[in-house]
Amino acid sequence: MIDLYWAIGQHLHHKIESDGWAKSTVMQLAAYIAQREPALRGFSAQNLWRMRQFFEAYPAKAKLSTLLRELPWSAHQHILSRSKQPEEREFYLRMATQQRWSVREVARQIDSGLFERAVISPPKLSTALREMQPQAEQHFKDLYLLEFLALPDPHSEADLHRSLLMNLGRFLTELGRDFCYVGSEYPVQVGGQDFALDLLFFHRGLSCLVAIELKVTAFEPEHLGKLNFYLERWTAM
């Protein structure tokens, strides 16, 4: 269907460019289709116009054809109407197919400015992580948006923790497709002492556990201490 829409868009584009078709011609065409094939849906003047826009956005289809076909038409509408630059459109096309976003999620991610966030601020990785797993950079973000928790400001760490667990599905979507939930308050034994990790995930692409520590305050260097302590403990095992 995407191919058909693209081809119609191409046809309309050429008609408009060379034969001087105008908006009214497209409206007449839509009316004609509606009259001839009343059961046929999706060929309103507005949608025909969108097909033309679709073709003009991706004139060189060969490069993106598999990506284009994987998304439903309504997801394309969100991407087309709200992202202007070609790089931005391609970014959302790739992310939406890779992450298997729902149409609603496509709209949300565009609203959240994921593209801008990814370009302006890459994630902050430790030197050790860069050396051990250089590809980790593409699986994390610098800023995670948790607006779906509807948390008041300020909130406690327990509130944050609890609502993340209650909205685990959406949190997983925000983290990325490859994250799998392992546990909460995950026990770690060091020496004779028991500690608990806030949240534990597994990343399929990186094939490693990801321990998440939550802080409802701004970053302080000592926060890293505790996390490093757990990580060292695991590596030593």
């Binding site: 609203d111 959240s112 400015g113 593209f115 801008e116 966030r117 370009v119 302006i120 994630p123 902050k124 990785l125 430790s126 030197t127 050790a128 992580l129 051990m132 797993q133 980790a136 994390f140 973000k141 610098d142 800023l143 995670y144 948006l145 948790l146 607006e147 928790l149 509807a150 948390l151 400001d153 909130h155 770690v188 990343h203 990186l206 094939s207 490693c208 556990l209 990801v210 321990a211 998440i212 520590e213 939550l214 802080k215 409802v216 305050t217 701004a218 970053f219 302080e220 260097p221 926060h223 890293l224 996390l227 490093n228 757990y230 990580l231 060292e232 695991w234 590596t235 095992m237």
Partner: protein, 77 residues
């Protein structure tokens, strides 16, 4: 804890805010595979992000960017 075929675990510190300089400094000295990220409970202003992106492009590709016009003075109210 870690299975034999798995890579070493990664730690993610998710905080309500951060000073990039402090984070950079702390992470450059960390010997553990860790990263620091921020969370927000509100969607950001897309227009503001788009402006930042524009600035970023101008900074990173000055040769492609149009010649900078003399800066207009902005009257602060």
């Amino acid at each position: 804890m870690k299975k034999l075929h798995e890579n070493p675990a990664i730690g993610l510190l998710l905080c309500a805010g951060k000073d990039s300089k402090v984070v950079e400094y702390a992470l450059s000295r960390s010997l553990s595979p860790a990263l620091v990220a921020e969370y927000q409970t509100r969607l950001p202003d897309k227009q503001m992000l788009a402006m930042k992106l524009q600035e970023f492009y101008l900074l990173s590709a000055p040769e492609v960017a149009p010649k900078a016009r003399p800066k207009k003075t902005i009257n602060r109210i």
